[in-house]
């Protein structure tokens, strides 16, 4: 069953740059997909369209049955509540504790306090940070901060986890740790994961589906692909 469906999608920015050109792809529920490509290939634009930070200029982008191309600004929150987003720069609130940062996502959607606590604790357990819930982000390492970001993204048990270069700021060992957490989330919770990355080692090791973008065009789409195979493209 399709969770993401992109049809004849174009994205042209106001400055005339075409970031995405006639893109067609679909991703099923429960998949783990890497999106790779050189800088400026349209990876980030595609990712941003999935959570409606950007709107396609033409065509349609369906995420969980919602066409983001037609989604009004005032309704964007409805889409965002169905997905989790992990960023390269973590985007944690420095003045909130780990617990508060994760709980923030549930409070923002008006969940009851008594329901929030068990969910936050479970999410922190999933990323192995239960014992650091009272720490502030600046007391954590980069890898730990990224794990908090993942916990915040999965706390609402979304069907889709969108990861925008989540290992971009981390060293190789920590990066592997983060990807193994994402893999666990994918396998144990059945969450669909789409991850934009430059990390060749991880892509090669994971042997997941790989979408290669080149100048906004889908240049390759291979099951159990690797970064090396597509390097020439």
């Amino acid at each position: 069953m399709k969770l993401i469906e992109v049809k004849n999608c174009y994205k042209v920015y106001n400055n005339g740059v075409t970031a995405i050109a006639d893109l067609n792809l679909s991703i099923d529920r429960g998949e783990f997909v890497f999106v790779i490509g050189a800088s400026g290939s349209g990876k980030s634009t595609l990712i941003k369209m999935l959570y409606r930070e950007e709107k396609p200029t033409n065509g349609s982008v369906f995420v969980g049955g919602i066409n983001v191309a037609k989604l009004r600004n005032s309704r964007v929150f409805k889409l965002r509540r169905k997905l989790g987003i992990v960023f390269q720069d973590f985007k944690l609130l420095p003045k909130l504790t780990v617990y508060e940062n994760v709980a923030f996502a549930l409070e923002a959607i008006g969940m009851h306090n008594k329901d929030i606590r068990p969910k936050v604790v479970k999410a922190l357990e999933n990323v192995g940070l239960k014992d650091k819930m009272r720490s502030f982000p600046n007391q954590l390492s980069g890898g730990e901060q990224q794990r908090v970001c993942i916990a915040r993204a999965i706390v609402n048990e979304p069907k889709l986890l969108i990861c925008d270069e989540p290992t971009g700021n981390l060293d190789p060992d920590i990066s592997k740790e983060i990807v193994s957490i994402l893999d666990k989330v994918n396998k144990e919770l059945g969450t669909t994961i789409i991850m934009a990355t430059h990390d060749r080692e991880i892509v090669n090791k994971m042997k997941k589906r790989v979408l290669l973008l080149d100048s906004g065009v889908l240049a390759n789409d291979i099951e159990k692909g690797s970064y090396v195979v597509h390097e020439g493209n």
């Binding site: 005032s74 929150f77 409805k78 889409l79 965002r80 985007k91 923002a108 915040r152």
Partner: protein
């Protein structure tokens, strides 16, 4: 229930944020305090000047003396004419006998002097209060033209000058109050905007995790409200204590017994409420404007 939860969380987060962003909160509070003190001083002056002008206007009367030969019947007809005059608020008739008695009672010298005279040299009179002080001159002229009138006098020149000076002062202070409120709005609004601009990432994250616009806006609106309220507390205390002190020091009168200051209570309470209102509303508006910049509505 969900709405109440969002509301209470908004209030809780606003308080947390005021404390966690202590230095910026202090800047916003100090800024509002200083400007609101100026607004308060200008409002107090303006209201007092208005009060003094009204008092002075109330004191202004036309004193009319009747000709010596005026009979009772003629006075009766004069009463009717005055009753029908549009600008006459009220009039008080005083006969020459009443005048004589009053003068006799006022000093022994006058009393002795009047006893030497066979006839009463004084005249019957009216003291007339008008509705519109600006038409005092016109009314006085109209009365002068009537029959049996010896003179009609209202202190020409002095009265007009005093009133015009006070009315200019009153207008100037009202303009100053208006300008200060605008300056306050601008300063408080901008300071609160700065505190919110420094937290644009917070708003961005709220949007990304699926908070709707109301949920995002509420804590910031409350924060602006709280900063505005706290910022108005010092001006309120300064106004209340300051004004009561000034009032007591001058014993309620400024320079002369004619210029009376407005009594502190309940006047100063109204000023306090106005300051509180200005602080709260401007705080909220400042927040509203700043947050809107980061919300794609």
């Amino acid at each position: 229930m969900k709405a109440i939860r969002i509301l209470t969380r908004g209030i809780r987060d606003a308080f947390k944020s005021v404390i966690r962003n202590f230095s910026l909160s202090t800047a916003a509070i100090t800024c509002s305090s200083i400007t609101l003190i100026l607004v308060s001083v200008a409002m107090i002056i303006s209201y007092n000047v208005r009060n003094i002008t009204t008092d002075l206007e109330r004191e202004l009367t036309i004193v009319v003396y009747l000709k010596e030969e005026t009979t009772e019947a003629q006075i009766e007809s004069l009463n009717q004419i005055l009753d029908n005059m549009e600008n006459v608020e009220m009039y008080k008739y005083k006969s020459k006998e009443e005048w004589k008695l009053e003068i006799k009672n006022s000093s022994d010298t006058f009393s002795t002097a009047l006893e030497y005279l066979d006839a009463n040299p004084l005249l019957n009179s009216y003291t007339i209060t008008v509705k519109e002080v600006k038409d005092l001159k016109v009314t006085s002229e109209e009365i002068k033209k009537l029959e049996f009138i010896e003179s009609a006098d209202y202190g020409e020149g002095i009265a007009e000058n005093v009133i015009s000076v006070f009315s200019v002062v009153e207008k100037v202070t009202i303009i100053i109050v208006g300008a200060l409120i605008l300056v306050t709005a601008f300063l408080i609004g901008n300071t609160i905007k700065l505190t919110i601009f420094s937290r644009k990432s917070e708003i961005e994250i709220m949007r990304l995790v699926g908070a709707n616009n109301i949920t995002i806006r509420l804590p910031f609106l409350f924060e602006g409200f709280i900063l505005g309220i706290i910022g108005s507390i010092i001006p309120i205390l300064v106004s209340i204590y300051g004004y009561v002190l000034v009032y007591d020091h001058f014993d309620g009168h400024l320079f002369t017994q004619i210029i009376t200051l407005v009594e502190p209570f309940n006047f100063i309470i109204y000023i306090a409420l106005i300051l509180l209102g200005i602080g709260a509303i401007i705080g909220m508006l400042g927040s509203y404007r700043a947050v809107r910049k980061y919300l794609k509505i």
